[in-house]
Symmetry: C2
Subunit: 218 residues, 2 copies
DNA sequence: TAGATTGTTAATCGATTAACAATC
DNA sequence: TAGATTGTTAATCGATTAACAATC
């Protein structure tokens, strides 16, 4: 199987690219023989160099076939394997606002074997409403649910203010990965991973482009 | 003012870092003298090297002061200037689902001088509901609104399927920057910038971490 | 002054790309 | 076979970091 030596952690830029490959291969525009794919095809679609695609796939232990390319299902299986999609990851959503709702309802997660088991909100108004098939629960239930379902992943969509405090609770209750959409940098003990999704950062590129356009027009 | 020579475009990684600086300086945890900030402070908070912070600020033409650091308001002004936050950017939201709603309602945009002037949805059910202070309009009004308000930026939160077709309409109507949250790669003519926000990609890192943890436990 | 911090050059490091033989 | 594509080494490129003199 040519698996990567254990112990060497893959870089997160590589992991992100894997996710791009995974989604591209999963819903490729209708092809005649989607059973194979060449590094060139992937590269072209994702606007990158084909050598890099081959390097990435080699790092997963997938072997291609000269003149043919890579077997799609092998690539998909390797990515699933590396990212742990063979097993379902249970997650909770903390903060049942609009963003929390959008994420909880996002259907694309199932492809990644991600399953939302519960949602929480401190607002009594929101408690009891149905989100992603589960009832929004009060924050008091947090620890109990995490422990009962053995949840390791939390999606945090609360305001900046209570974010750190909630993160602390999550970690204490057994959460080991936090997907943080709160506009606040979190401090967590080692062994816990935080992915800070600072969405506004993406606006910078667009704003910069628009400013340059406006200046040209002058 | 030591402005950067015109014509050299700043890299988008740099632009993203600028946004991080901007938000950090904008709401720094209560300090005694928040009038100045050192590259070390910024670096520590954002978990990066202080040399890189100084390089970035130098690229903007901001000059620091030995022993003192940088004047906060100068840094903020320089970033606003580079990213074009002196002028308001009008934007529309296309797709008034949960994610569209979350983005339309996001209060952090005002800091970036981003102002949502209208929202659209093809679903008659959603039309007429109020989102971010404006009424959700039918898609038919798209071109008229873009032209009337001179909108250049569109936030796209529609399903993958109609995304390309809508993007084409947007570009034809005068949109020059698309913030794409649809799970679909868009093709646009040169002169138009697309920022594809593939949120699920961020999950890769967390899933990988969780898998490694699970393996260690075995 | 001593010490903190900048600004900048040089060194390092890593990621990406180019080149090309190997393969079917 | 000729040609397409992989796999891999070497070259390049750029980003990050180290080092340290300059400054106040």
């Amino acid at each position: 199987m040519g698996r990567k030596t254990q112990g060497e952690l893959l870089k997160h830029v590589l992991l992100e690219r894997l996710m791009h490959y995974y989604y591209f291969l999963g819903e490729r525009p209708g092809e005649d023989s989607p059973e194979t794919v060449s590094s060139g095809q992937i590269a072209k679609f994702l606007n990158m160099d084909d050598t890099l695609v081959r390097k990435d796939l080699a790092a997963l232990g997938v072997r291609g076939h000269p003149r043919i390319g890579f077997k799609t299902h092998e690539v998909l299986a390797a990515i699933r394997n590396v990212l742990g999609f063979e097993k379902t990851n249970k997650a909770i959503v903390v903060g049942a606002g609009r963003l929390g709702g959008a994420l909880a309802a996002y259907s694309g997660f199932s492809k990644c074997s991600l399953f939302i088991v519960a949602a929480f909100d401190s607002d009594p108004q929101k408690q009891g409403s149905v989100l992603a098939g589960t009832v929004v629960q009060p924050m008091e239930n947090l620890e109990a649910v995490i422990q009962r379902h053995n949840v390791r992943l939390a999606i945090l969509t609360v305001p900046a203010d209570p974010a750190q405090e909630i993160a602390d609770r999550l970690v204490r209750a057994g959460i080991r990965a936090i997907w943080n959409f709160a506009p606040k940098a979190l401090v967590v003990p080692s062994g816990v991973v935080v992915r800070h999704e600072h969405i506004v950062a993406g606006l910078a590129e667009l704003a910069y482009h628009l400013k340059n356009i406006a200046e040209q027009e002058t």
